[in-house]
Amino acid sequence: MATVLRNLTYQGIPVWRNIFVIQWASQILSGVLVVVLVSWFFVNIGNAIQERDIPYGFSFLSREYQTPIGQHFLDYKSSDSFLYAFVVAATNTIVVSIVGVILATVLGIVVGVSRMSGNWIVSKAALVYIEFFRNVPLLLHLFFWFYIVLALPPVRQGYVIAQRLYINNGGVSFPWPSPTNAGLAATWVLAAVAAVIIGSVVRRRLTQRERETGQSSFPLVAGCAAAVVIGAAAWLILSAAGGAAPFVISQPEPQGTFGRISGGFTVPGGLIALLIGLVTYTSSFIAEIVRAGIQSVGRGQTEASRAVGLSAMSTLRDITFPQALRVIVPPLISQCLNLTKNSSLAGAIGYSDLTNVAKTMTQTAPAVSIFILIMAAYLAMSLTYSLIGNLYNRHKRFIGS
């Protein structure tokens, strides 16, 4: 009788079916499991490092790297430290990333807008571009362009356009301003920046006045004129004061029998192949993002703006595109990140990017430390892009609301 009663009375949920207990037990179990696995992995690596006498830690960073780096935008010589070599390699990646992102965005927007064009031929041409470029591995793009650059004639037999532009298997060389005097040049650059800022302020003021009073005062022309006048005035004053112009144009000139180009600015062939490959590949993805963004804006917006008499161009520039930007920017940022990460393929075509240099470093430095450094570097770049994207997004949302 007593047993029956005990069975009939409610005794609470048994421990093994208590949802609270199950949840916590599974969490603790999975947490412990992962921690054990990860620590097993690293402890084993640590042991292996000690047994095989592989150096570890970060003390190698101050040692001399003693390996040349193919291309570098910062001054670099073999006696520089590992840390500095790492910074040089990271700069190479950052340069590719920034130039590539700008070019790919512009090209992507052009192709994406063409894809939405009412013109049948233009739209289909954009479709073919997108479908072809994004369906082929980036590595193939890079090899294709790289071997085209390699197959170009050497410097002495290379193409010369208007005695200024040299195209050959070493890369593309073109005239470039070179500073005569560092102080003078820096002063003029500061003045030029100030001129641009003043010009944009003038433009904004005049636009505001135009909006308030309805009187047209050509804000864009006036702004540009202000900037140019201030810049030119600074140039003349500095030239007179310093005895020489702040910058002179340096012309590329082939030297010697093998024709090494000196002067001007030379974009190395590897970098050109890398940029063309990355830009065409990424722009096909950006084009699809732009198309999706424009399609996300209701048809009524376009129809209404055409109905009030705006031209097709003005509709796109002032009505559709600004609204589409809200949809476009987040995936665009992730494409920019992809471009940055994809630039790690540069090693395959002989450009010294971060991954390529780090790969060479693992021969003389501990791989674990290098791996941590690379991860930190790429993470920093990702976070910077995400931050810019998020700031822009917030800015857009405030104006919209």
Binding site: N44, G118, A125, P137, F143, T355, F371
Partner: protein, 416 residues
């Protein structure tokens, strides 16, 4: 048929001829305004010029001899060289694996009863059989190779008949048989020590398109379930699980795949005892799978977020336990909503298999590059080779996106 319609009938004039047919279409799509007309003219001229010079180059100037020179290397890499396969011809093994695939496609055709599956089966079987008629001499491409390639058509028919007339003709059987076929393929390619015809071939000799396809199939099949688990984990109420999933996803998404592959080559062997059997192919497959599953998880999470919470609430109200709600209510709808990004991820996984060059595996891209590097006389023809490879990749990736569009249509995405 009231008097009204009789009266109004003659009043309905046909549209002007300039608004219908070819002329109307051109007016609407090519010459709707003056700048549209200008664009049409410029675009047409540049397209005609591009086609003229492009076709001229392809037909007259380009030297495509580099492609047949590489020949079988494009498909199987170094699998058949003397060092990989001493004293015997191993070419029949990848071909036998191909026969398994065509047989499976035949079965799928019989089960699906036509449509895309039929078309894919016919294209694959037909293309494989067509390779038998390549104009090589018999010393370069033996009779055995040609016969095995031709056997793809009977294999297709056999698979079709098997599914049609036996009890194996169901989707679940095909799924099981696909897994068996994949394992059989791996065994065939790897070989078994001691068996006369199946001399083991080390994975470093696997290469060419075969390697890309193997890695892609393994990566797609594994990263999909791992991605689902990670996506569910990231949305879990269990804080520890959620944190672990976030850390995993963000770490793998933050680093380039090529860095991960390289580090797997340098670091992972250190974590195991020195005599532990190491296999660079397995390592590459695992790294590609984990990398892809991190992206897959984010896609699936997007699908889960797009789901109306009412669905889950209704399922719980009907008394379905949590796992059944997830498995039968949330996931099917969530995945249906994000088919395009998921297939996009599959496509980029397939393209990313070309990155295994960093760990010294000779996939189809790397073996071509190595060939050009080793034979400088073909340096000027590198672009022909890479254009050909681009077309090969394009056929596969475009096929994938075509199938995804058909699947979407079949599931009625955007209609229901």
């Amino acid at each position: 048929m009231s008097a009204n319609s009789v009266l109004s009938a003659p009043l309905i004039l046909p549209p002007p001829r300039t608004e219908t047919g070819m002329v109307g279409w051109m007016r609407a799509n090519l010459f709707s305004s003056w700048h549209n007309s200008a664009m049409t003219v410029v675009a047409t001229i540049s397209l005609v010029l591009a086609l003229w010079f492009g076709l001229g180059w392809i037909l007259l100037e380009a030297n495509w001899a580099v492609v047949p020179t590489l020949g079988g290397r494009i498909i199987i890499g170094q699998y058949n060289i003397e060092a990989a396969c001493p004293g015997q011809n191993c070419f029949w093994r990848p071909q036998a694996a191909l026969l398994l695939i065509t047989a499976l496609l035949g079965m799928a055709w019989a089960v699906a009863g036509g449509g895309v599956t039929k078309r894919i089966a016919l294209v694959v079987g037909g293309a494989a059989a067509a390779f038998a008629f390549l104009p090589y001499g018999l010393d370069q491409m033996g009779l055995d190779v040609r016969l095995l390639l031709l056997a793809n058509l009977p294999a297709l028919a056999a698979g079709w008949a098997l599914a049609r007339y036996t009890r194996l003709g169901s989707a679940s059987w095909i799924a099981i048989l696909s897994v068996i076929a994949f394992i059989l393929t791996l065994v065939l390619l790897r070989g078994i020590p001691g068996v006369p015809l199946l001399h083991p071939v080390a994975v470093i000799y696997w290469g060419g398109l075969m390697l890309n396809l193997l890695l892609a199939v393994a990566g797609i099949a594994l990263s999909f379930p791992v991605g689902i688990v990670l996506a569910l984990g990231r949305r879990s109420r269990l804080q520890v699980v959620k944190l672990l999933c976030i850390v995993f996803i963000e770490t793998f998404r933050g680093v380039p795949l090529i860095t991960l592959l390289f580090m797997s080559q340098v670091l992972v062997p250190l974590a195991f005892p020195e005599n532990f059997p190491q296999n660079s192919l397995v390592r590459a497959a695992i790294v590609i799978t984990l990398f892809s599953s991190a992206y897959m998880a984010e896609n699936i999470r997007g699908g889960l977020q797009s789901l109306h919470p009412g669905q889950v609430e209704a399922a719980r109200a009907l008394g379905l336990p949590g796992w059944q709600t997830t498995l039968f209510i949330s996931l099917p709808q969530a995945i249906r909503n994000v088919i395009p990004p998921i297939v996009g991820q599959f496509i980029s996984l397939f393209k990313d298999t070309s990155l295994v060059y960093i760990i010294g595996m000779l996939d189809v891209v790397e073996i071509s590059r190595a060939f050009i590097q080793g034979n400088p006389e073909y340096l000027a023809n590198a672009k022909e080779l890479f254009i050909f490879l681009a077309l090969v990749f394009w056929v596969f990736t475009y096929g994938m996106s075509y199938v995804s569009r058909r699947v979407e249509q079949h599931l009625g995405v955007g209609e229901r």
